[in-house]
């Protein structure tokens, strides 16, 4: 163990003040800012709507599916991710400098931000709670294989796990491996298979199950 030793638990280190208190403070601050004309409430609604309904992991999934179908696009994506992603129109805050990490049969990449919650918004939307929470941020670097197991991903011993700690301004997107048995699928069908977790590197993309079983 590196760093400081504590003899008490820190389970609540990221919990902050009790929910009710925080909720009240947010509400009080919001109404004060609105009443004073510093914040336009309809602008807040537009912002919220953007990340609830428009920008999300479907964007990243389209990038991945295109890279699987189009080898030239895949190459552009690996060489200059920012411009290749911008070709599909996905640009903006927290996606200014993108890097794409390609998973292969020998390398599994996963992304964390141990210092805060850096995340590529234009391609993945807003980060899930677990990504911002202390357990993932503390353990992804010291026990990546253990964390992956909790996500249901077992990485064989002969595969290298690379953990990318996005401490600076670069934002990372994992290009997962295309699953076997998807050769006949179109780009849109492939995009449906790509999960958010697979693009963070805490999941794998699965081929669709045969329909007969049930």
């Amino acid at each position: 163990m590196s760093g400081h030793h504590h003899d008490h638990d820190h389970d609540d280190v990221d919990a902050g003040p009790p929910l009710g208190d925080l909720q009240l403070r947010v509400r009080a601050l919001e109404s004060l800012l609105v009443d004073k004309g510093l914040v336009d409430p309809t602008a807040l609604d537009t912002l919220i709507d953007t990340y609830e309904t428009k920008v999300g992991p479907r964007n990243g999934a389209r990038v991945v599916a295109k890279a699987w179908i189009d080898p030239k696009y895949r190459q552009r994506l690996l060489e200059n991710a920012s411009t290749a992603i911008a070709e599909l129109g996905y640009i903006g805050r927290q996606g200014e400098d993108m890097v794409v990490l390609e998973n292969t049969p020998k390398v599994h990449n996963m992304v964390v931000c141990t210092l805060c919650s850096c995340y590529p918004w234009p391609v993945l939307g807003l980060p899930p709670v677990w990504y911002k929470a202390a357990p993932y941020r503390s353990r992804a670097v010291i026990d990546p294989r253990g964390v992956l197991k909790e996500f249901g991903v077992t990485v064989p011993d002969d595969v290298e796990v690379r953990v990318w700690d996005s401490t600076a301004e670069l934002r990372y997107l994992v290009l997962p491996e295309r699953p076997a048995g998807t050769e006949g699928l179109r780009e849109e069908q492939l995009a449906e298979l790509v999960t958010r977790d697979a693009m963070i590197g805490t999941g794998k993309v699965e081929a669709p199950r045969p329909k007969a079983k049930r």
Binding site: K36, T42, L44, A133, P135, S138, R139, A168
Partner: protein
């Protein structure tokens, strides 16, 4: 700063709790927290900043009612501006022609420093030896910028550290951690 935000490698913080079909926001207050660009850690900081910048007064904060009009000359975000503002690039990358001290493949050691101010050098990397994986180019140096000392453009590198170098013999001999580190954090190995 050696703060609790710097979590890499800490123990005792519990299990990761993935949530299937997680909604973007769980509660309505989370929507507001996001839209106001807050975070629970930052709420207190924001309240202080609003007072410091003269946008609201301590009295208004206490009474929760505006005591006077907003200062003149403010640009308030309007709904029509939202799409454009979200697509606006807030570039930390700089065009400055700063010579790079290191090249891909060269050995480096992360400095064992403990600055009181803002830094992006995580504690778990300090004093560890790694190899430059790639040079990302020149960026605003956040340590200086956060301290109000200007942009001080610096190269930012992805540095590969073997898991064993960082965590010792029990770690996998195959695995590695790649950390984005600014040039002033690094010495030649």
């Amino acid at each position: 700063m050696n703060g609790v935000h710097d979590m890499g490698g800490m123990h005792g913080l519990g299990p990761v709790e993935p949530e299937p079909n997680e909604p973007v926001f769980h509660h309505d207050w989370e929507r507001k927290v996001f839209a106001l660009n807050l975070d629970e850690h930052w709420l207190y900081g924001l309240e202080l900043l609003l007072v410091e910048k003269g946008l609201i007064t301590v009295e208004e904060m206490r009474s929760k009612r505006p005591a006077g009009p907003a200062p003149d000359g403010l640009r308030v975000l309007r709904p029509d501006d939202v799409p454009r503002r979200l697509r606006a690039i807030r570039a930390a990358r700089m065009d400055e022609d700063v010579p790079a001290k290191f090249k891909a493949g060269e050995g480096v050691v992360a400095r064992n420093i403990h600055p009181m101010g803002h830094t992006r050098l995580p504690r778990y990397a300090r004093g560890k030896r790694g190899v430059i994986d790639r040079d990302h180019g020149v960026f605003i140096y956040p340590d200086a910028h956060a301290a109000g000392l200007g942009k001080q453009p610096q190269h930012c590198y992805s540095v590969r550290f073997s898991a064993r170098e960082v965590w010792g013999a029990e770690a996998s001999s195959r695995d590695a951690i790649y950390i984005d580190l600014f040039e002033p954090y690094l010495d030649p190995a």
